[in-house]
Subunit: 399 residues, 2 copies
């Protein structure tokens, strides 16, 4: 169970005919009572925001929502005013079936950019979708399935939070994403639910923090899509006193949201298009968190570093060069770089090491590249993958 694990939520997924393959492509997550609950969202920073992003932002202004409807196979991005009308139409049709206000339905889409949605097919499928809403494992799996594009597996996660008075609340989530690695087909979407009672502004703050240390630390090709969206709905069914800012319950809920987001992000990286390696780029000893992130992201998104990962080659010279080009401040002749715990560069120059032993460990699927800037006490970790022939093949043509 994932998005239906928290009390008070139901989910469903159907095939509406958006995907030529006939695979499921329309998902819904809704409160069991069809009543508005606290909700929050974090959206792409791209200036070109897809129609559903524009509509969901507006519908979230009051911090409340009843449901999220999601479509896959078509991003409804770069579709202008007609696209906005389509996104709003999805909300209207869903609201009418659910018996709630249009403004209480949020909408997400993912897939190809620049094409209009087949609205008659989508609208025809919505009554079936709403009629299919259920709690339980099958329902969350169906919703998770209907969100996918080039993903090969569903992404689901769940965690618990201590929300006061001895009450344990649940946080669950579903996501899709061959991640930032293929924003063309693969805008990243996630929907989280919790049965904790929480004020919507506190929920938003906790979500922002969770996204910041999970999805925002995942980089495959450095592309920020037009559709990225992470939403959370809090039903309050756990019966705790509503959580505001600060305090142990706020902290515990934040940890649970972070745990779910981090798990979903790792599942995305593991399912990355064409990837044969999952690499954790750790930068420590930075002068600030900002410097640490800047440096880790520069290494993670380097085509040359990614090619070396594909070859299992611990060529630290490229890593050092990317650190130097990142804008982070440090002394190049103090840097230490280690692959899988083996130090290959110390004080900015080559370090003697067991090359044969390291070559063996580089053959594994997971690789850790640890860079110590020795300039301060801050650190950051970014997940990335290798750059492979298969990635190119998946992305050279859309048709």
């Amino acid at each position: 169970m994932s998005v239906t694990a928290a009390a008070g939520f139901e989910a469903a997924g159907v095939a509406a005919g958006i995907k030529p393959s006939g695979d499921p492509d329309l998902a819904l997550v809704a409160t069991a009572g069809r009543r508005p609950v606290a909700a929050a969202g974090v959206f792409t920073s791209n200036l070109c925001q897809a129609a559903p992003v524009q509509v969901s932002r507006r519908h979230l202004r009051d911090g409340r929502a009843v449901a999220v409807v999601l479509s896959s196979g078509n991003a409804n991005a770069a579709t202008g005013a007609p696209g906005r009308a389509d996104a709003l139409g999805m909300c209207e049709r869903t609201a009418s079936e659910l018996g709630c206000a249009t403004e209480d339905v949020l909408v997400c889409s993912t897939g190809l950019i620049g094409y209009r949605l087949p609205m008659p097919a989508v609208e025809a499928a919505i009554p079936t979708l709403v009629a299919g809403l259920r709690g339980g494992e099958e329902a969350s799996a169906a919703a998770a399935e209907a969100m996918l594009t080039t993903d090969t597996v569903r992404k689901e996660a769940v965690a618990a939070a201590a929300v006061g008075d001895g009450i344990e609340a649940t946080v669950g989530g579903v996501a899709k994403g061959a991640a930032m690695l293929a924003p063309s087909m693969a805008t990243m979407l996630a929907v989280l639910t919790t049965d904790a009672a929480v004020e919507s502004r506190a929920l938003h703050a906790a979500l922002e923090r969770a996204v910041d240390v999970s999805f925002n630390q995942l980089s495959v090709d450095g592309c920020t899509s037009t559709n990225d969206t992470v939403l959370v709905l809090a039903s309050g069914a756990a019966g705790n006193r509503p959580i505001g800012f600060g305090g142990p319950a706020f902290h515990s809920l934040g940890e649970a949201l972070t745990s779910v987001c981090s798990s979903l992000a790792e599942q995305m990286a593991a399912d990355a298009e064409g990837a044969t390696k999952l690499a954790r780029i750790v930068v420590r000893g930075a002068r600030s968190v900002d410097d640490a992130r800047r440096a880790a992201r520069a290494v993670a998104r380097s085509q040359l570093v990614q090619c070396s990962l594909y070859g299992g080659d611990p060529y630290w010279g490229r890593v050092l060069s990317e650190l130097g080009a990142s804008g982070a401040r440090f002394d190049p002749e103090a840097v230490e770089i280690a692959y899988n715990g083996v130090v290959v560069c110390r004080d900015g120059v080559a370090a003697d090491h067991d090359a044969e032993g390291l070559a063996g460990s580089m053959e594994g699927r997971e690789i850790e590249v640890r860079c110590d800037l020795r300039a301060g006490g801050s650190e950051a970790t970014v997940l990335t993958t290798d750059l492979t022939h298969a990635y190119i093949d998946e992305n050279r043509r859309t048709s």
Copy 2:
């Protein structure tokens, strides 16, 4: 003729044994009279600066130089104090053979990062290198050849400048670079010469401007290497009155420097590792030059755009998404995007076009992607290439 085209310069190239292949790997450009002349340089902005960059910067403080010695196959980067001693040693040995001051010799290296130079071999080859200094075409070709790493062809260019009193001066240059596309093997280096008489500060200003609109507008993998260097020496042999800031002679010299740098940059892009396409990303209608460049570079360095170029697929959705993520300011619903002159996106949405005709033109080697932001009057052009299987193969292992 290129680097020896301007009166007062000689060049040479030899195989010193740095490259395991035995190919030429040591080059020299020197003033014919072995006397210091006005000189200027532009260096990498990478915080991790290779030893030769550090030494050349210091030697250029007085704005004068006699010669530039260049080695290929080893970048002498991330080599610490011993590496700096090696770079200085190359200058010392060259100066002693030329009969000039060590501080008047500049040094450049390109190749693998993290390895010490084989100094005995380099020092043993320098007397032969200096003895081989000649004017004429063969000499400049020999120098151009000895600079190369993964390049498949020499890069040479020449242009003329009207420097006053009816005098025409010559600007010539040689360069190496599979460019920013493989900074591991391929730090980008260029040496220019001119027989114009010019004050060194004016020469520096003209060089900075020329680099800014040529090499700095070339992006293949967005990596800024540890060794990038562009140098110019001005012999004054043309006999014109020394050029200061401003005026038609300064302008004409600047144009000639720009022409040579632009030609060398285009030659680099055309010889890019593994590339099958050469793409010109033109952004116009931007609110500022800074916005135009930011937007053009974001499109040029996008792995997804580069994959589409490889597939000959005019998938403008990726281009629009990169424009939106670039930080440039514009209205997404005003943007026009054209491939090879065919408008595929108008007012931010799909535009009807002759898809079959466009598919045919996308099969050619050169592709123009023109983006009109319709937000102002500034524009910028960036050259890039496609991302191919061959690029990955060339970069997955260094050995």
